[in-house]
Symmetry: C2
Subunit: 236 residues, 2 copies
């Protein structure tokens, strides 16, 4: 069989596609690096040229997910019909929409991040997601400060708090996954739904807005994302 010469960037994406397909059908933990290498039809040496480890594959997949989600929300930033609060709410709501749509896939790929032994990986992947999403948030908050809608002296700091709200739920999710039963998941959903309501009001107040201005999750959002995990699991 003649060796196929591909452009490095195409080759890299190609490996990621094969890895993603394998992780989706077998789960990240069960699929081995050798499976990925065999499926991509490349040599071990070629694989390691692109990715030093299985974790690096997962990080690259997370990065690709984040970039796709960013592209989807970009239009909100440029919509002239939205005021700063409308823009912030659209940004958050489109992120949620993307999260619901990709939830089953995301669980199959990234559930492993919530295992205790993968905390460092979770942190690293979140830092990267943070680094790409945060500037959008800062931009929108800053616009709101400039036109007097939002009242804060530190848009970057507020954006960090918003990102931190997401990180803070790690332990609740990790516990539900470690427990593994439907009842454990129900407990987590209840805790997270209450937490979302708190974060909404917290963010309203941090930005000097009336309670009820910002939507971090509509009813059913948490349940849709969390129960997608079991569906992802049963589909395998």
């Amino acid at each position: 069989m003649p060796r196929v010469i591909k452009h490095p960037e195409i080759r890299r994406e190609d490996i990621l596609d094969h890895a993603q397909a394998l992780f989706l059908t077998q789960g990240y933990d069960r699929a081995s690096l050798n499976d990925v290498i065999a499926s991509a039809g490349i040599s071990k040496g070629a694989f390691y040229h692109y990715f030093p480890s299985k974790e690096a594959l997962l990080e690259a997949l997370a990065d690709r997910f984040a970039r796709q989600a960013l592209a989807a929300v970009q239009s909100v930033l440029d919509d002239p019909d939205l005021d700063p609060l409308g823009r912030l709410n659209s940004l958050l709501s489109q992120s949620r929409q993307a999260k619901i749509e990709t939830a089953a896939e995301a669980w199959a790929l990234f559930e492993t991040m919530f295992r205790p032994e993968n905390l460092v990986l979770f942190h690293r992947i979140n830092l990267a997601a943070h680094a790409s999403f945060s500037p959008l948030l800062v931009k929108v908050i800053r616009q709101g400060v400039e036109d007097g809608t939002f009242r804060t002296f530190d848009p970057e700091g507020v954006a960090d708090i918003v990102m931190q709200f997401g990180l803070a739920t790690h332990d609740v999710v990790a516990k539900a996954i470690a427990g593994g039963s439907d009842a454990d998941m129900e407990v987590a959903i209840e805790v997270l739904e209450k937490r979302v309501r708190l974060y909404e009001i917290a963010l309203d107040r941090i930005l000097g807005l009336p309670d009820g201005s910002i939507r971090i999750g509509e009813p059913g959002y948490i349940r849709a994302v969390m129960t997608a995990r079991r569906k992802a699991d049963k589909a395998r």
Copy 2:
């Protein structure tokens, strides 16, 4: 030499004292488990009966620090002359005072937690500290909600946000330590001081208080804690 029989709890505290003394003079990373065992004058087997690893020693020391700090703030909770806001501010200010007083020791013992490879340890130690400090915070916030001073439906959630504020500074501190220079530390101090001002106003607003009600750090607090690290380093 006759073998000294000690009560297990005393023996355990004794090992911790020797470990702490060694870590303070040599630093946690440089002191070996064998040094600790030799200093405590016990057998390896006896040591491992109490602590499975060097990390477990550090966790136990952190736990001892946390318990001492808790004992110091306990009086605030029972002070009948304080209203809920005064109580919350006293709780936070006494925690800061304890932190300043023990800063040089704490750096010598726990700086290693901020190294990237010790993120799991950092998380574990913080979960434990969180578990002991958080109930006090919840109690004080709940008192304030009951008498109408604070306005929130979720005292546990607000306490979590306060603890999260502390965790959120991990990456800034870790970066300063990785950099290592005085200039890196100055950058971190500036970021952290701004962050403390944001967290103060954020917490005011989350609790429905006027801006400027809650003190998370007075001027000079961050600098005192952060520069104690260099002093600890130079003393060795």
